[in-house]
Point group: C2
Chain length 211, copies 2
């Protein structure tokens, strides 16, 4: 016995999503079968209209306009750029109270998956940083040592490689005055020393601060 | 900072699905952002076309035609009807090798959620059973004691109540000759006696078979 075609086709679509297996896909499909048609239509419209989202010209974050909310906000601390892998990271950092600017790479360097630096918005970041001082000050020279790049790629293999790559590129570009920092690593809040892995503990010791 | 509207609207749709929280909804939405438009369109079409699925006139299972695959199949053992709560249960039983017919109730009696017997396909089951013998034999009387109803609603509060309700109804209808059975309960394959709860163990003891 096979699933009826309309059900099978939706199940396949669900199954192609990350973290959704055949069982969950079935459950979701049969759940939607009991949902009113208008809610199905809303769902369908949101799926096909998804790509109406725009990529911000400056920071490459997703938004509704050419320039995103963050870049357009005059109250933002324009002396900090936080480099992240994905728009989801921006959301997470926003909740943490960070008030600077962002640059979204849309991925991390991953040679195995065939993602090199040219697949990411790294060139855009470099040219953005080159113009950074003059954008802020207009025509008068700007004190570059006030500026800071925070490399907030994920603390995994790909993220570390990407951070390293960007750091090297920036130093080669001669932007030595701009401070480059890496997001702090250590034990997460609520974490347990006993269960932390060696690398995390090593990083936590390295990153200790005065109490 | 808010999510752009197209993203927020899809996120909301995902969040309305069972077992999908805000974090997963975000992850799925951002995943789809990187998927080609044609795949999004396929997904959207499957969602809105879902209700083209038909309910089988006989067994109330979902299908592509008025009469579902199982009911239309002449090779099926037509002397057994297995009563289940949902079409998903049919799929699960099909995999187990069951070769009889089904009757899908589309739910279980749940007074707290406002689901009474009239919300389910119980009346349809009763009238189907009344005609059962004559359907099978044509005009000659049929040996009703060859027929069997297997109540395979879930072994939880609602499922048990539904099974009990149907059993009472059948007995009142005078269909005393038809055998009524309840799906076996006990330890699941691969289960561990040590960790089984009391009720399961009690049922397993009651349902013991000769070795």
């Amino acid at each position: 016995m096979h699933l009826p075609k309309p059900l099978q086709s939706l199940k396949d679509s669900f199954e192609s999503l990350p973290g959704i297996g055949p069982k969950t896909a079935e459950r979701l499909t049969f759940h939607l079968l009991r949902v009113p048609q208008e809610r199905l239509d809303t769902f369908a419209d949101s799926v096909s209209a998804l790509k109406q989202t725009k990529i911000c010209k400056i920071c490459k974050n997703v938004g509704e306009d050419e320039i995103c909310e963050v870049c357009a906000d005059p109250k933002r601390d324009k002396e900090k750029i936080c480099v992240v892998e994905s728009p989801l990271d921006v959301l997470a950092l926003e909740k943490s109270g960070y008030n600077g600017l962002y640059h979204v790479l849309h991925g991390a360097i991953n040679p195995i998956a065939g993602i090199g630096p040219e697949e990411l918005f790294i060139e855009d970041l470099l040219s953005r940083i080159k113009k950074w001082g003059s954008t802020l000050s207009g025509t008068t020279p700007y004190e570059l040592d006030k500026l800071e790049i925070i490399l907030a790629t994920n603390p995994d293999l790909e993220g570390e490689a990407t951070a390293m790559y960007i750091k090297n590129k920036l130093e080669k570009c001669g932007s030595t005055l701009i401070r480059i920092s890496r997001i702090g690593r250590g034990l997460p809040t609520g974490g347990d020393l006993e269960y932390a892995d060696e690398t995390t503990l090593k990083r936590a010791m390295e990153g200790r601060t005065s109490a």
